[in-house]
């Protein structure tokens, strides 16, 4: 593992200063992706700026909105009693990321900043029409993920929180890779407060995407049967040793129907 200089600032402004001064700096939150990437030689930052010292953690349910601070661990999100009532689909998603030990370290901000194509949170950010708050601005969930491991974040921009509007009902169902527990395919389905429906898919393509044909069908009738004939094209989907693109396309429909069935 290549060496680096470690920093642990206590204020976002100091973190940004450190990033600007670094030759090739990286922000780190839980480190669950960055540290393995450095071990594998996929990343070799000159400086690591650990955002753990910012103490950006906590879940707040207020009115029709749930705000999760960026440094909140998956375990803390999954265990939050208020969130379980407000958005059970999001609570369940957080409780299914990785394993208990990973959930004690990994954070929501780190997960979405990394934008792994097989990560779970992107499906909820897009599926629930969330808003990503940074130290500089607010970014709509739909505009946040721009490609494989690519986001709208600038290199020195720090996520501070994610704001989720409460839906009428929602659910997330994933088909995990049994070894890594990442989503081979994961589908988040939500009926939002205004009656519109969102179907967001992770794991299947280079980045999270919506399925407009399913959304329209579910707006007419929110039942698994409404989308039994709505398929996605396999052409642009991921294909690897774990699953072909055709299999992933098949899973999108199966998991979407299960999510509709489980939505509450």
């Amino acid at each position: 593992m290549e060496n680096f200089t470690y920093h642990r600032p206590h204020h976002a402004t100091d973190a940004v200063k450190l990033m600007k001064a670094a030759k090739d700096g990286k922000f780190m939150s839980g480190g669950m992706t960055l540290l393995p990437a450095i071990k594998h030689g996929l990343a070799s930052p000159s400086d690591i700026i650990d955002l753990g010292g910012l103490k950006h953690a906590g879940v707040a349910v207020s009115g029709s909105v749930v705000t999760i601070k960026a440094g909140t661990t998956h375990a803390a999100v999954a265990d939050d009693a208020g969130l379980k009532k407000a958005i059970p689909g999001l609570s369940k998603l957080a409780g299914g990321i990785g394993d208990p030990h990973v959930r004690n370290c990994g954070t929501i901000g780190g997960s979405i900043a990394n934008a792994d194509p097989a990560a779970d949170y992107p499906a909820a950010v897009v599926g629930l029409a969330a808003t990503v708050h940074t130290d500089q601005r607010k970014i709509a969930g739909d505009k946040f993920f721009t490609g494989m491991f690519e986001t709208a974040l600038k290199p020195d921009e720090i996520i501070t929180a994610v704001e989720f509007p409460m839906p009428k009902r929602s659910a997330y169902v994933k088909f995990p890779n049994p070894a890594s527990l990442y989503a081979m395919v994961g589908v988040f389905v939500a009926e939002l407060a205004d009656g519109s429906v969102r179907v967001a898919v992770t794991g299947a393509g280079p980045s999270v995407f919506r399925v407009p044909d399913m959304e329209k069908a579910l707006e007419k009738g929110f039942s698994p049967d409404s989308i039994s004939g709505v398929t996605v094209k396999a052409d642009d989907l991921n294909s690897d040793i774990h699953a072909s693109s055709a299999y992933r396309a098949h899973l999108v429909n199966v998991l979407a129907r299960r999510a509709v069935e489980q939505a509450k």
Binding site: R8, D50, G98, D99, P100, H101
Partner: protein
């Protein structure tokens, strides 16, 4: 090089580390506590699980320097005055180990599980919660039995 200080198994320790020094390296090589194992080194197998500030984490995927001021418990910190922790005793009595390589991580994960979910654990819960711990001997039947037994004694 940075100096890191933390409390390991109740004892104040400190040492010089590099930015990249992993917590498990500091524990094993810096402190000589070799009960914590490194299996996969890719945060999947769970042989390196220790408790940091009361929570189970994979010490192969944590920086030592980030644990400044933390309270760390390793497998060596469980037995008190020569008496095994009830979970260790349960693993011994239920033959919850074969080669023993995964055992420290299994026991640390098991105690964390009891801390989170209580002493009454059904088999399905234990199996599900062990997602982050792999036994290459595939000795899961007795590991699960041992955890259920150990939980009830804690």
């Amino acid at each position: 090089m940075p100096i890191v200080s933390m409390k390991v198994n109740g004892k104040e320790v400190s040492g010089e580390v590099e930015g990249r020094t992993l917590l498990v390296e500091f524990i094993r090589e810096g402190l000589g506590l070799t009960g914590t194992h490194v299996g996969c080194d890719t945060s999947q197998c769970g042989a390196c699980v220790v408790h940091v500030d009361g929570k189970a984490i994979k010490s192969c995927t944590a920086l030592a320097v980030a644990c400044e001021g933390a309270e760390v418990t390793t497998i060596e910190g469980l037995a008190k005055n020569g008496t095994l922790h009830p979970m260790q005793e349960a693993f011994r009595e239920n033959h919850g180990l074969q080669c023993g390589f995964c055992t420290p991580g299994m026991i640390m994960a098991a105690i964390d599980l009891v801390n989170r979910k209580g002493k009454k654990l059904d088999e399905a819960t234990v199996r599900h919660e062990l997602e982050g711990n792999i036994c290459r001997c595939t000795g899961y039947h007795n590991i699960v039995k041992a955890i259920q037994d150990g939980a009830s004694r804690m």
